[in-house]
C-alpha cells in the first residue's frame, strides 16, 4: 500500500503522513473525513524498503522531528500532531 486517495470536497492539496497504529493519526483522518475534504494519506509503518526511506525523508524535510501525523497543505504549510483547531483553520482559509 502506498498513497491512498480519499475523494471529497476540493479545497487544499492535503497529504497526510501517518501511522496505521497511531491514535492521533486516526483522529486526524476522522477530522478530515468529517470535514469531507479531498486528501491523500499514507501509512509509513506499512511501507518497506525504498518506499519507506522515501517517505521518512519526505516527512523529515517538512518536520525534522520526523513524528506523526505530519500533514502537508498545498506543499507550503505543515501541521504536526492532531491539532484540531489549527487544522480546521488552515483548511477554512
Amino acid at each position: 500500500m502506498t498513497v491512498v486517495h480519499i475523494p471529497g470536497k476540493k479545497s487544499r492539496h492535503i497529504v497526510l503522513h501517518a501511522l496505521s497504529t497511531c491514535g492521533w493519526c486516526q483522529r486526524t483522518r476522522k477530522l478530515l473525513d468529517d470535514l469531507g475534504v479531498e486528501y491523500d494519506y499514507e501509512y509509513v509503518d506499512l511501507l518497506q524498503g525504498d518506499e519507506r526511506e522515501r517517505a521518512i525523508k519526505e516527512v523529515s524535510s517538512w518536520n525534522p522531528s520526523g513524528n506523526f501525523p505530519t500533514m502537508v497543505i498545498d506543499n507550503k504549510k505543515c501541521i504536526v500532531g492532531y491539532r484540531e483547531d489549527e487544522i480546521r483553520e488552515a483548511l477554512q482559509k
Binding site: T21, G23, Q26, V44, S65, G66, R83
Partner: protein
C-alpha cells in the same frame, strides 16, 4: 491472517491486564475506553509485527536494540505525564486527566530525531562509589535497586530487564 485483524477478546484481555498493572503501580490508562482499546489493539499488532510492543504512535525500526526506548511503556512516559498529563499516545494519563479535570491532547515528541539519537551523554554510573552492590535504575519509572543484576521485570512498572541501566 490479516495483521490488522485482532479478536475483541484478545484486546479486552490485554486492556484488563494493562489496567490492573497501571492502577497497582500508581499509573492510569486513558478513561476514553474506545480510544484506549484502539491503542491496545495497535500494541497487539506491533507485538506480532516486531516481536515486542513498540509504541503505536512512533515509527519502530524493527530492531529491538534501536527501539528499546519506545517499547511501551516507553522511556518518555513519565516525563510526559509530568509535563503534559499524558504519554505521547495518551494511553497513560495523569490522575487529573483520569478525573476529567484536564484534557489529554497531542503533545510534542520528546524522543530525539534519528540523527541525534544515541549521542545523549550516558547517565550510567561509574561504580566508583565504594558501594557493596551496584545500583540499577529502571529507565521507565526510575525504580532503583541494589543487587548484582537488575530484576527480570521491574516490580513497579513491569518493564523488562533490558530497560535497566547502571545508576551507581
Amino acid at each position: 491472517m490479516n495483521e490488522q485483524e485482532v479478536a475483541v477478546a484478545e484486546i479486552d484481555r490485554l486492556y484488563e491486564k494493562l489496567f490492573r498493572e497501571a492502577e497497582s503501580a500508581g499509573y492510569h490508562l486513558n478513561p476514553d475506553v474506545e480510544f484506549t482499546k484502539g491503542l491496545v489493539k495497535s500494541l497487539i499488532i506491533n507485538e506480532r509485527r516486531y516481536g515486542y510492543r513498540a509504541c503505536p504512535c512512533r515509527l519502530a525500526s524493527g530492531k529491538n536494540k534501536d527501539d528499546l526506548d519506545i517499547i511501551c511503556p516507553c522511556d518518555y512516559r513519565d516525563p510526559d505525564l509530568n509535563e503534559f498529563g499524558a504519554c505521547y499516545c495518551a494511553l497513560y494519563v495523569s490522575d487529573a486527566v483520569r478525573k476529567g479535570e484536564k484534557k489529554a491532547g497531542s503533545i510534542p515528541e520528546r524522543r530525539l530525531p534519528p540523527a541525534e539519537r544515541g549521542k545523549e551523554t550516558r547517565e550510567e554510573g561509574t561504580g566508583l562509589t565504594g558501594l557493596s552492590l551496584p545500583v540499577w535504575r529502571c529507565k521507565v519509572c526510575g525504580y532503583l535497586c541494589a543487587r548484582e543484576q537488575p530484576p527480570e521485570v521491574c516490580p513497579i512498572c513491569k518493564a523488562k530487564k533490558d530497560r535497566f541501566g547502571r545508576f551507581m
